[in-house]
Symmetry: C2
Subunit: 343 residues, 2 copies
């Protein structure tokens, strides 16, 4: 790594968010997430039809967006199967010709589509396939780094690890503290503009990539690291372990969805009790940071009414002795306070 920059991806921003002709909000989660968490990074939205969903940004085409300062078209829609609909090619071509790079989290690599790759190269534009990793990472050193780190972990995948980390980063910044969100998944990378898609890294280098992602920092600086997978997921636990070991977190936050019975898409795998999850995560995390501890439980209570959600938080605090909150409903202050108290 002598003298070369760390192999962490950095994206050109702000974005023109491409919605296409998508009419279902659930399919535009990427675009909606970027708008919600990084409004300052969104110049506008490009809808191909008036029936397409509205993310609340100004409508504009790529030429207008480029003139307004946009640096890239962000594909904000995740079509079923992750493949690129053929009729989008003309739109992406237009964006390249207007001077925008393209940022994509699709399974289909834009760089593998000859028409786009050739045009981008001829125009000096870049196609950022955020889901894929073409960089090499070093093997982890296990060496303790300066600065503070907090990592979100979960009883399953997709239960608010990214949102908890983003909300905590904002809360720290709002209090005037030094903090950086460290993205480990494609949407997180789009939101923050940099990061490592950790599950796309070759297995031997996952912990090493996590070390690169949160380098030495000032003693009072917090890296808030987006968790991936779950220690209790039969397909992804290895990714989670590598990320934990490389992150060397001083603090852990457990993310949990109270009404979930089994691992999503794996009905034979029950969600473990939070007490057991906390104990197992500590077992693993203490290998590279013996002083690590949990500082809170972040609940995803969407779909549960607010009174019941408050009860669930109180109940969780009683069970674990940790502050519990739904970051999107009740904010992250209780967990942040505990974290700063412990540090």
């Amino acid at each position: 790594m002598n003298g070369t920059p760390l192999p962490v991806r950095a994206l050109p921003r702000p974005y023109l968010v491409f919605v296409g002709d998508e009419q279902h909000r659930s399919v535009a989660k990427t675009g909606a997430g970027v708008c919600y968490w990084a409004p300052e990074a969104c110049t506008g939205q490009w809808r191909l039809s008036p029936a397409a969903i509205d993310l609340g940004l100004a409508d504009m085409g790529p030429e207008e967006a480029a003139a307004a300062g946009a640096k890239a078209l962000l594909i904000g829609v995740a079509p079923v199967g992750g493949l690129l609909p053929g009729h989008w090619i003309a739109s992406l071509t237009e964006a390249l010709r207007s001077g925008l790079d393209i940022v994509s989290g699709l399974h289909t690599r834009l760089n593998a589509i000859a028409e786009l790759a050739t045009l981008a190269a001829s125009l000096g534009r870049k196609l950022h396939d955020v889901r894929h990793s073409d960089t090499s990472f070093p093997v982890a050193t296990g060496r303790k780094r300066r600065g503070k780190r907090v990592l979100t972990v979960g009883t399953d995948c997709a239960i608010g690890k990214k949102y908890a980390a983003l909300a905590l980063t904002n809360a720290l910044k709002a209090r005037g503290l030094a903090a950086d969100f460290r993205a480990t998944g494609q949407t997180g990378i789009m939101i923050s503009g940099s990061g490592v898609a950790i599950d796309a890294v070759v297995a031997d280098f996952v912990a090493g990539a996590a070390e690169c992602l949160s380098p030495d920092a000032a003693d009072d600086h917090w890296d808030v690291i987006e968790g991936q997978g779950s220690l209790f997921h039969p397909a992804y636990a290895g990714v989670t372990v590598g990320l934990i070991h490389g992150s060397q977190p001083d603090a852990l936050i457990l993310c949990h969805q109270p009404d979930l019975q089994t691992i999503k898409s794996f009905p034979d795998y029950p969600i473990v009790p939070v007490e057991a999850a906390i104990a197992r995560y500590l077992d693993i995390a203490r290998l590279t940071n013996a002083a690590t501890r949990f500082v809170g439980v972040s609940l995803d209570t969407s779909g549960i009414d607010e009174d019941r959600a408050r009860e669930l938080c109180a109940d969780m605090t009683q069970r674990t002795g940790l502050p519990a909150t739904d970051p999107l409903r009740f904010g992250m202050d209780p967990i942040m306070d505990r974290m700063l108290q412990c540090a």
Copy 2:
């Protein structure tokens, strides 16, 4: 995966083992391992100088080897740094022209050396870069498979997991039982002729690759799976966890080196006591196979005199209640007997 073969690598055999002009036995570990464990797969050795080390095979060049039935030249030497010495190119070219494929575990991809890649393509020969993985694996399903599986795990990397698995496979076959060695590292793949270099797989698919490696089998069939890494290694534990979860082992064997104090090359990381290692491995492995159990401890006692080695085995049995042996010194029968008894 519909109808397509599983993406497990298969190598052409038997081999002509290439020793080059290497004079240090420790550098020819790959070639020596293949000769020791798969003598039937070795047609001969090719030494470029009389001073080169002798693996005990018949000396021959590639043309003679091809005439004797060899299908590939196996690079049996691992030069420092993993790079290909430039003066070998002429030898590899000669092998390709003689009708042999080339099998390499070097960091340098033979397929990235234009001269070799072009010649191989024009001759219809293949360059097998065993250390690298170009195939795609599915995400793990977590579905229980038929047949029995045993996996070797360790208190560190490189303390006999491959040798224990190979010795156990041979012991099972000697007793007339159905068993296959399932290789997960490059030397293991060269020895057995097939397998998956699990640490070269993209992190998200490690458990899925492990599922592919040991597919459904007859109820009384044993897959003996070569372990990788260690749960206590700050760089590689994630690989180990993915391999455990995908393997769904019915039986585990702990590999341990009694005179080792810290993780190799990581002096800040002490070797954990075997009792703690056993407990932690069971915690992890029970996620995908609740009935898993340890059936033995395999000790690497090289460098310890034989009387002391016997004492260490007896001591280990006392501490763990498990049969303990050094597979290369005392055989694997005690562990095999316990494993068959438990099954």
